[in-house]
Symmetry: C2
DNA sequence: TTGTATGCGTTATCAA
DNA sequence: TTGATAACGCATACAA
């Protein structure tokens, strides 16, 4: 057997630098056909033990690594999933993406990441780039997308999932009920006798999650007969600094608000910092609560009351959904993940007299 | 002209669902050859205006998107760059990756992300997966990698860059001089008359950046004749909670340290929180300073002194380096980015008497 | 300027 | 179980 294989055959080019080894190289080294090598590597059970071992040895010796492009061309799939996640640098998206990536990697899929700096970057060309790369599936952030996006996806028969999207959206989505989350916060504040509520939220024009949080809050406040104070309602980019500035701004206004809800914990951390600087006791003169995109609420000063959102789980579920679609196994159920209120000492009972900031003590 | 193109020709299969349109489909719709279509799309200047427009129209009508696998096979490149970034969910890596992604995307490259949950996951199979996907270049985190990794990279003639790596490494790396950063911190503390220094750092076994920070600190302390207090030297995962716990632990020990340096700002935030809970004035009884992986140091309580590390810039430089390699244009210079000390009120002069924690007031 | 034909490295089909 | 050979869809060298 061995004699048929010209193992001592030198490669034509003595300069090894030419190309990486191909299937044909392995085949000729092992003295078999390319088909056999292909099967020996990807379907070992179809091949006789001795040949298989010869092939494996040859492949090893040449440091053979399959050419994915050729494989993709022949198999019509790339084992690759695309994700489009805007503004992913400064938020909790990375946590979600990591969970997604891990879930997919467990089944041999690799993540192609497109992370436009701004949401405003038009999605379509990005999606085209991903489709051109032959992604087998796509994960999108949110449920608001140009019709073109869904058209392209459909035209390419590419399964997709929307993460962090509104509850009702289609079915191929996974997200939280942020209205319910808002309800939890407001119920808690209401029970503490707060009647005038402020909100430092994300930018609703740009960010559908921020919009849903504001809407949920507005509804919950209305339902309970409370008041959303306009003078304590600010939209800002999610960030420490923005939260600091927003709260500072509120302090310069006259507001009846005795509790301020923050759109996420970055904003809340900044807001707490501003209150600390201004020597305003929290709670006492004012209570703070927040939606929780990250995990440092317990370590703020004072520890922050939040609605905890299962970010990691969302990434996992999205991945599982896509895998199910790709392997058309389990029937993929649309997912609406549970949120949970975590009360910490940044919220307390409503004070007897409303907040009077030092800078504007005089009535106008 | 138009008449030569059978624009009214119906596709054979009335069921559009079959396959996405190929070059051949566009060609027959436009009444030209596949070669012409290919050129019209990727080298418009080589094609007559009228034909070009006919082709473009046809491509548009069919929603044509090139098959990247076929293109990659023919062109021998994928316009794709791989990145391997462990523990990417909870750190400043996302900021860096986003910068990297944006830089690459500007030149048409897409990022393939491999984000193993732990550093311990063996890199080689991950790199193999990326190479199999045909990445044109690779970005690695850190400079410590199994020899196998560099072997594979070389065998595939794949350019690579190491991010956040030690200064001396090869040349294809971009990073900070973390020893210099440590020097800045220690110099500052020394000037404030602190002589006994503690350190809450990352895990050196697992994390080469943490190791470099510890080493840099040790050297700087030795050079200035200060003391690194063993009882105030703790390694922990980067995280708020871990910082909290580490500082709490230090408080239960007897320590001469009057200043504690933290390995990153997550740890520092946790540490500050622990001191706040214990009612220990910062600065006053103790000073805190930190390496700054993120950007919330100004919003902590009290605002944290840090060495600011240009994370975003690192991602950009790494991207630029790879692009230069890929387009073999500018000679890519190895980069060592500047760090900067930012003093805030968490560090103050050395107190007259050392820290005595309430829980252990009695001398042993 | 445009058409023709070949190669890229796999997988899959069909014989042997 | 194995070998020969035809796709896969695009780019490109060469011819016209």
């Amino acid at each position: 057997m061995r004699s048929t294989a010209p193992q001592t055959l030198q490669r034509d080019a003595p300069a090894q630098a030419a190309r990486s080894a191909s299937l044909a190289d392995v085949a000729s080294l092992a003295g078999v056909s390319t088909g056999t090598v292909s099967r020996a590597l990807s379907r070992p059970e179809m091949i006789g033990k001795v040949t298989r071992e010869r092939v494996l040895a040859a492949a090893n010796r040449l440091g053979y690594v399959a050419n994915g492009a050729a494989r993709a061309l022949a198999m019509r799939r790339t084992m690759t999933v695309g994700a489009i996640v805007p503004r992913f640098g400064s938020s909790s998206f990375p946590t979600m993406i990591q969970a997604l990536e891990r879930t997919l990697a467990a089944e041999g899929y690799t993540l192609l990441l497109a992370a436009p700096a701004h949401h405003s970057v038009h999605e379509t060309p990005i999606l085209r780039a991903l489709l051109e790369r032959g992604v087998d599936a796509v994960a999108l952030l949110g449920s608001r997308h140009p019709q073109e996006v869904f058209g392209l996806l459909a035209a390419h028969h590419t399964p997709y999932v929307m993460m962090w999207s509104a509850p009702g959206s289609a079915g191929q989505s996974v997200g939280f009920d942020e209205a319910a989350a808002a309800g939890l916060i407001i119920e808690h504040l209401g029970n503490l006798q707060h009647r005038h509520i402020g909100f430092i939220g994300g930018q609703t024009a740009d960010n559908e999650r921020a919009l849903r949080r504001l809407q949920g809050l507005t509804q919950a406040i209305a339902k309970r007969g409370l008041v959303l104070c306009e003078e304590a309602l600010i939209e800002a980019e999610y960030g420490f600094q923005e939260g600091f500035e927003a709260m500072s701004e509120i302090l310069t206004r006259r507001t009846k608000a005795t509790a301020v809800v923050c759109g996420n914990d970055y904003l809340a951390a900044g807001a707490l910092s501003a209150l600390d600087r201004a020597n305003i006791p929290v709670p006492g003169q004012i209570s703070i609560a927040s939606f929780n995109d990250n995990d440092f609420a317990p370590f703020l000063h004072p520890p922050l009351s939040t609605v905890r959102l299962p970010i990691r789980q969302m990434g996992e579920r999205a991945g599982a959904y896509l895998l199910a679609k790709l392997q058309n196994s389990e029937p993929p159920a649309p997912a609406l993940l549970d949120v949970e209120l975590v009360v910490r000492c940044s919220t307390g009972p409503c004070p007897d007299k409303p907040l009077q900031t030092p800078s504007r003590r005089a009535k106008r």
